[in-house]
């Protein structure tokens, strides 16, 4: 339990794949180097480094408490809001350090959207749920612009047909799956480049889950997506790359197919086959 950077053979840098599986020519836009996270005295993340490819889905898997959600929250500095939480190391997006003093965290979160475990629409109308982000960021000027953005965001989230006739109804009145898609639409509306998803389907039933998974599949073409999931099947279905975490360390990171079919590390294999977790 010390904070020394991970230099073991399990270190992530060693297994960064040379050719990402998604679209050809995609570059790594997000890179984490030697990231550590402490909650007070307790260390939660031990020197994790990885490159996240652009416009693809990267899944974080691992047993409960392995730090995958904590690591995810580093990318939009959501950990700042937790009392006593310290993040070390370096995370860059497009080569720019997200911890640099000149960066306002609000600006970062407009670029890096987040979808949470439990659907958490604002207790406002469906319309206002979508329009809120663009409004505070000054992305829309007129009512017509807002209307158009609300419509396109809901369409991208595949929710338009279901809610177009009741945009003034409260977002909290939708079903769980619809609420989660509303949250995704809300995130999309601010025009992010990266979307972080923290177990987005854990509170949903299988049908709603498969709808959201299809949506993730479509969104991949426009956005860089990082998804934390406790379901290995889901990771296998939606992601191109998978990272396996255990006890705050990145054990293995590679092409999803390779991780599931031919894991290099013993611990990965044990987890995938259900022996740990």
């Amino acid at each position: 339990m010390n904070a020394t950077p991970d230099t073991s053979p399990m270190g992530a840098n060693r297994i960064i794949p040379s050719a990402p599986a998604s679209s050809a020519g995609a570059e790594s836009r997000i890179s984490a180097r030697d990231v550590t996270v402490h909650y007070g005295e307790k260390q939660a993340i031990f020197g994790v480094s990885m490159e996240v490819p652009e416009k693809s889905v990267t899944a974080f898997i691992g047993p409960s408490g392995c730090g995958k959600s904590t690591f995810l929250r580093c990318f939009n500095r959501m950990n700042d809001t937790i009392e006593g939480c310290r993040v070390g190391g370096e995370i860059t997006i497009d080569g720019e350090d997200i911890h640099r003093p000149s960066l306002d965290v609000v600006e970062l979160r407009a670029r890096v959207g987040m979808v949470f475990q439990k659907p958490n629409p604002f207790p406002k109308s469906i319309y206002d749920n979508i329009a809120y982000g663009p409004r505070i960021h000054g992305l829309v000027k007129s009512k017509a612009e807002t209307d158009a953005l609300v419509e396109s965001s809901l369409k991208k989230a595949g929710l338009w047909k279901e809610v177009s006739d009741r945009l003034d109804q409260p977002g909290t009145g939708l079903s769980g799956g619809q609420q989660q898609r509303l949250c995704i639409a809300r995130t999309i509306a601010t025009g992010p480049e990266v979307i972080l998803m923290d177990e987005p389907c854990s509170a949903l039933d299988p049908i709603a889950t498969s709808i959201v998974e299809d949506l993730i599949h479509e969104l991949r073409e426009q956005y860089t997506i990082i998804i934390v999931t406790h379901s290995m099947q889901q990771a296998a279905r939606v992601s191109q790359k998978t990272a396996f975490f255990h006890l705050g360390k990145l054990i293995e990171y590679g092409e999803t197919e390779q991780i599931f079919v031919n894991p290099r590390e013993k611990q990965t294999e044990a987890y995938i086959t259900g022996r740990i977790g």
Binding site: F116, I136, T187
Partner: protein, 463 residues
Amino acid sequence: MTEALETEAEANTRRRAQVRKSLSRRNRAEKRFKMLGLGSVLAAMAFVAVLFGNILTNGLPAFWQFNIDAEVYFDPEIINVPEVPVQQAGQSDADFRAEMLGWQRRLAMVNWNRILVSSVEGALAEAETADGAGTVTEIDTRSAQSIIDSGARFVLRDMVLADPTIIGERREMQLLLSADGDNWAKGKLSRDLPDDRQQLSRAARDAIDLLTEEGIVHRAFAWHIFTNVDSRSSPASAGLAGAFVGSFYMMLVVILLAVPIGVSSAIYLEEFAPKNPFTDLIEVNINNLAAVPSIVFGLLGAAVFINIFHLPLSAPLVGGLVLTLMTLPTIIIATRSALRAVPPSLRQAALGIGASKTQMVFHHVLPVTYPGILTASILGVAQALGETAPLLLIGMNAFVANVPATPMDQSAALPVQIYLWQGNENRNFFEERTFAAIIVLLALMILLNALAIWLRGRLERKA
């Protein structure tokens, strides 16, 4: 194998018996607790019922006071004043005002009691005719005067002031009975006591009895309780208007100061303040302040607002400031707990979309806490409305027979008025009045609380 099976069956039976035994114990405990809870609820309700029953039975009769229907003759011989002055051409405003004042002074010096006495005599004669018994009751001036509330003088004077042409006319009027007369008519004074221990003379008592019998003296709703100020010389016409307006001004000060200051401090402490020993100290102090006896706040108010800032004594402004200090911790603590109850998922949603902390608080957290903050504020204000002790220390227990025009004027306050009336030496009359004032205060509080509940329901439905 057989043996093993048997033991397993036996073990199961034993286990089931044990569970059943413990179950019946648990059920008994549960039943006991339920009975205890029900008992306390019933006891509490019984206390409330007794309290309200007592207050209502004692206080409601005060809202109906005895009046006498009498013909008042505005006798020009008694109202011996010149014609009301009219501003002449060429007369300066100041001169006219001086002349008018002189006329009004003459009017004030008229012996209105003589008019009242002849009205009573007239009513008595009428009653005797109606009674048919033919017993001519002689009533002396003093007794006749003691029947009618002495405030009636001013009623007549004001009528002439408002319309001088009334002089020489006769008017059917309803005049308030004096406090003693009202007590006698309501049967609150013992009829067995000898004359020397009665407050009214035999003639006055007989007159009231006769007039009541003939329906000339009868009960009427005492609107003046709401429109008149306190009075010592004519207790029957004493009212709550001054105290009511005084309390209103104080509540205004409390709402304008305690609510914004309390809510903003709570928001700052809960959402923005860094966690360090200094803010911990502030938090402990706020919690302690909530437990400080209210009379201490009165001392503080006297020391700070009156001695240092030289604000006037008995002023609703000072009362409001003292009550603000007293209400602040209540509002801060309740608001903070309302803020703390907001689910973290809502905060995360706002932050995750790129809202700044201020935007998160004001766009998302505050709107869902409005019902809680509102309830806390109204309950704090209602608590302040009923507070008496601190007001005594800043001079609000002074006798003030005025409706304050501004919060800087001397004034009474509702709870203090209750305190003053319950200490009044005319117990027979003021006991009822005290309960009447309590009813008014309670009605106000229930109104405030109902408002809180209604607003809460409305805001919660909207949210």
